[in-house]
Amino acid sequence: MNQTQTSTGPILTTDGIPLKVSLKKAERINKIRAFLLVLPLLAFILITFLVPIGDMLARSVDDRQINTVFPKTFEVYKKWDRQGLPSEEVYKTMFFELKNSEGYSVGKASTRMNYSKSGWKSLLKKSKRKFKKIEEGPFKEQMIAIDKKWADPEYWLALGQMVDPTTMGYYLNAVDLKYDSSKNIVQQKENRRIYNKTWIKTFKVSLLVTLFCLLLGYPISYLLATLPMKYSNLLMICVLLPFWTSLLVRTVAWMVMLQQKGVLNNLLVMSNLIADENRFQLMYNQTAVVIVMTQILLPFMVLPLYSVMKTISPTYMRAALNLGASPMHAFYKIYMPNSVPGVSAGCLLVFIIAIGYYITPELVGGKDGQMVGNWIAYHLKTTLNWGLCASLGAILLAMMTVLYWAYNKIVGIENIKLG
C-alpha cells in the first residue's frame, strides 16, 4: 500500500479509489436492492390507490366535458353580455354543434347541464331529434318554435356556469349551496337541502359509535391485558370471533335481533316488560346503525387498546398503591394516562372507519340512518353524478386530514400505538 499518502489528501481504499466514492458505490447497490424489493408494492399502491384518488379529486372540480361537446358555442357565448337573449350567432353555433354531435356525448353533456338548470336534458334530447329537419337559418326563431325553453334567458345564463374548465359547483352542491344564474353562491331550495343534515348525522353517528366502542372496549381490553393467560385467551377469541365472521352475516343477524317482531322485542314482550303495541323501533333508523356499527367496529378499538395495555407494567399500579394511592386513584392517575396512546389510536381508527361506513347504514339504516357514504354510493351508481361523488369524498378526506392534524397538535401522533 502507498505509505506516502499525506493526511491532507482524500482517504483512499486499498484499490486506490477515494473512500467516499467506494462507500457511495457500495451503498448504491444496497439502495437499489432495497428499492427493487418495495417496487411491486409501490407500483400497486400507485395504480390502485394514488392514481384513482388523484383522478377522483380532479373529477370533483373538472368541468370540461361540456366544453368538448360545445367548444365553439362557448367561444361565441363568452362574447354575450348576458342581457336578454343571446344573438343569432350563439343560436346558430349551438344548433350545428348539437346537430352534428354524437348522441352519447350529448347525453353526458346534458346530464351536466341539468345540474345547473334542470330541464336542459329534455330540451337537448327533444331539440336534437327535431333539428334534423332544419337545414337553414335563421335558427333562433326555428329553435324557439321547437321548444319555448330556448327563449328562456335562465337556460342561457345557466350555461355561463360551465364556461370555465373547472368548477366549485360540486363542492357547493355537497354542502347544500349552488350558483344562481348570475354565478352568486346561494342556498339550495329548502326541499333539496339534504347534505348538511347528512354531514351532521354522519358525524353524530361516528362519534357515538366511537364513544360506545371506547366505553365497551376499555374494560374488555383491561381484562384481556391483566387476566391470567388461560382466561385472557378465551376472552380474546370471543372478541375476535365476530371479527372473523362475515360482515353481512353479522348485520343480517342484527336485523333478526332488532326488528319489531325480532328476538329482542319478543323477549321484552314475553317477559311483560313492554306492551305488545309499544314495541321498540330499533330497526331501520339511526339507533340501529349505531348499535350494529358499534358491534362491528369494537375489535378495532379493543386491539390497539389491548396492545398498549399489555405494555403497561403491573408494577406501576403496585408502586402507586405502595405510595398510598387508593386503587381508584392509582387507576385514574397512573393507568389511564399510560393507556392514552391506545385510546387515541383506537378512537381515531374507529372514527375513520365509521365516518365512511356504507354497508351497515345501507342495510339497517332505513331512511333516517343514511350516511355520507350512502349518498356517494347512490350518486355513483344511480345518478352517475361522479363530480358530486368526488366532492363528497374529497370533503371526507379533508375532514380526516384536519382531524389528524388537530390530533397531532393536541396529543402528538408519535403517541399512537397500534402494537
Binding site: 407494567s313 408494577t315 408502586a319 402507586a320 398503591l321 405502595n322 405510595l323 398510598g324 394511592a325 394516562p337
Partner: protein
C-alpha cells in the same frame, strides 16, 4: 392484642404462603426485624424471599400466620394504607410524569400543602444528588439516575419501613457497587428500617446489619455478615456465601465440639462438628480458601501434600487450584507477597489449616 417487643419492629409469626394450594413457597417463617436494622433476605431465585417481601408490602396475603408491624397485625390492611416505602426491581417510575411529579405523587395522595410538597421533593432530590434533574422524564435518565429517583420516591413520604426488591439488579457492576454504598449511607443517615432482597451475596455482605439466607421457602441461617461468612451452619449457606472449598467424606469419630472426617482418598480431616451427628454420616467439610496456609512452618491440625494444578495471577493475589484429599478443585489464595521459587504448575506443596477453620457440615 399481642405484646409488642421493643426490638421487634417487623415480626413474621408462623407465616406460610402457597399460591396453588399444593406447594408452600414460604414455610413456617418466623422473623424479627428490630427498628433501624438493614436486613437482607438473600437466596437463589425461587427461594421465597420476594414472596416474603410482597407479603410485607401487602401485595400478597399469608396463607396462614400473621405479620406485625410495630406490634400491630397488618395482614388485613391494604397496601396503600400500610405506609411502607418500596423500591421495585425495575424502579416502576411513572413514565408519564417528570421526576418531580413522581416524587410528589405520594405526598399529593396524602393531601399535603403545595409548599410542603415542594420542600420535601427538593430535599429528597438533594439527598440523591439529582437537584438538576427534577423536570426530566424518567426515560431521559440513565439507569443509575432512575434508581436514585426510585430510592428518593420510596423515602420522600417518610415511611416507617422501606422494602427494596433487587433494586440494583439492572445496573452494571461499577454502578451497582457505588449504589450499594449510597444506599448504605442513606440508611445510616436517616436510620430507617430496611428490608432488602437480593440474590447477590456481595451486595448483601456490603450493606446489611443482618442477612437471612433463604432456600426452599425457609430461612437457612440469619446472622450478621461476618458470622455468616465465617461460620456457616449448613453446607448450603457455606456454598452460597463467598468462595468455599469442600471436601467430601464420612464422619469417623466425634469428640465434643470436634470431629474427624475421612475423605474417600483416605485422609483424615480435623474439623468442627457443626451439623453432623453420628459416626458414619456423610459430610462436607467446608473451608475458606484464604484460611489455608501454604508451606507454613506453623503446626496446624491439618497438614496435607497437594499438587499444584493451575496458577492464575490476579494482581492482589495468586489464585491456585490444587489437588488435595482427592479434590482437584481445591482453591488456595496465595498473597501477592509470597515468593517461593518452587511454586509452579505440577509442583507439590504442603497445605495446612486449623481444625477450627474447617467446618463439618451436612451432605446437602
Amino acid at each position: 392484642m399481642r405484646m409488642s417487643q421493643k426490638d421487634s419492629f417487623v415480626k413474621f409469626e408462623k407465616v406460610d404462603k402457597s399460591y396453588d394450594g399444593e406447594i408452600l413457597v414460604v414455610k413456617d417463617l418466623n422473623l424479627d426485624v428490630p427498628k433501624g436494622e438493614f436486613l437482607t433476605m438473600l437466596g437463589p431465585s425461587g427461594s421465597g424471599k420476594t414472596t416474603v417481601l410482597m407479603m410485607l408490602a401487602g401485595f400478597e396475603t399469608p396463607t396462614s400466620g400473621e405479620i406485625y408491624l410495630d406490634g400491630n397485625p397488618i395482614s388485613s390492611i391494604p397496601p396503600n394504607k400500610r405506609g411502607i416505602g418500596m423500591v421495585f426491581q425495575n424502579y416502576a417510575l411513572f413514565p408519564h410524569m417528570t421526576v418531580k411529579e413522581n416524587l410528589a405523587f405520594p405526598l399529593e395522595v396524602r393531601k399535603m400543602e403545595k409548599t410542603e410538597i415542594d420542600e420535601k421533593v427538593g430535599n429528597a432530590l438533594a439527598m440523591v444528588e439529582l437537584q438538576d434533574f427534577g423536570n426530566r422524564m424518567p426515560l431521559q435518565l440513565s439507569g443509575g439516575q432512575q434508581q436514585r429517583v426510585a430510592l428518593a420516591r420510596s423515602l420522600v413520604f417518610e415511611p416507617r419501613l422501606v422494602l427494596m426488591d433487587e433494586p440494583l439488579g439492572a445496573l452494571d457492576k461499577n454502578l451497582r457497587e457505588q449504589m450499594q454504598y449510597e444506599i448504605k449511607h442513606i440508611h445510616e443517615k436517616i436510620g430507617i428500617t430496611v428490608v432488602y432482597v437480593t440474590h447477590d451475596q456481595s451486595e448483601a455482605l456490603t450493606m446489611s446489619n443482618r442477612i437471612a439466607v433463604f432456600n426452599d421457602g425457609k430461612i437457612q441461617q440469619i446472622s450478621s455478615p461476618d458470622i455468616l461468612y465465617e461460620k456457616p451452619n449448613s453446607s448450603f449457606v457455606a456454598q452460597f456465601i463467598g468462595e468455599n472449598n469442600q471436601l467430601k467424606g464420612k464422619v469417623k469419630s466425634i469428640n465434643g465440639e470436634n470431629c474427624i472426617v475421612t475423605t474417600e482418598s483416605g485422609d483424615d480431616i480435623h474439623a468442627l462438628k457443626i451439623n453432623v451427628n453420628n459416626n458414619g454420616d456423610g459430610s462436607l467439610v467446608s473451608l475458606r480458601p484464604e484460611r489455608v496456609a501454604i508451606n507454613s512452618s506453623e503446626n496446624f491440625e491439618n497438614n496435607f501434600d497437594a499438587k499444584v494444578k493451575e496458577l492464575i495471577y490476579l494482581g492482589d493475589h495468586i489464585r491456585s487450584r490444587v489437588e488435595v484429599c482427592g479434590n482437584d478443585q481445591f482453591i488456595v489464595k496465595i498473597p501477592n507477597s509470597y515468593k517461593e521459587a518452587n511454586l509452579k504448575e505440577g509442583s507439590t506443596v504442603k497445605l495446612s489449616w486449623k481444625a477450627s477453620d474447617s467446618r463439618a457440615l451436612d451432605l446437602n
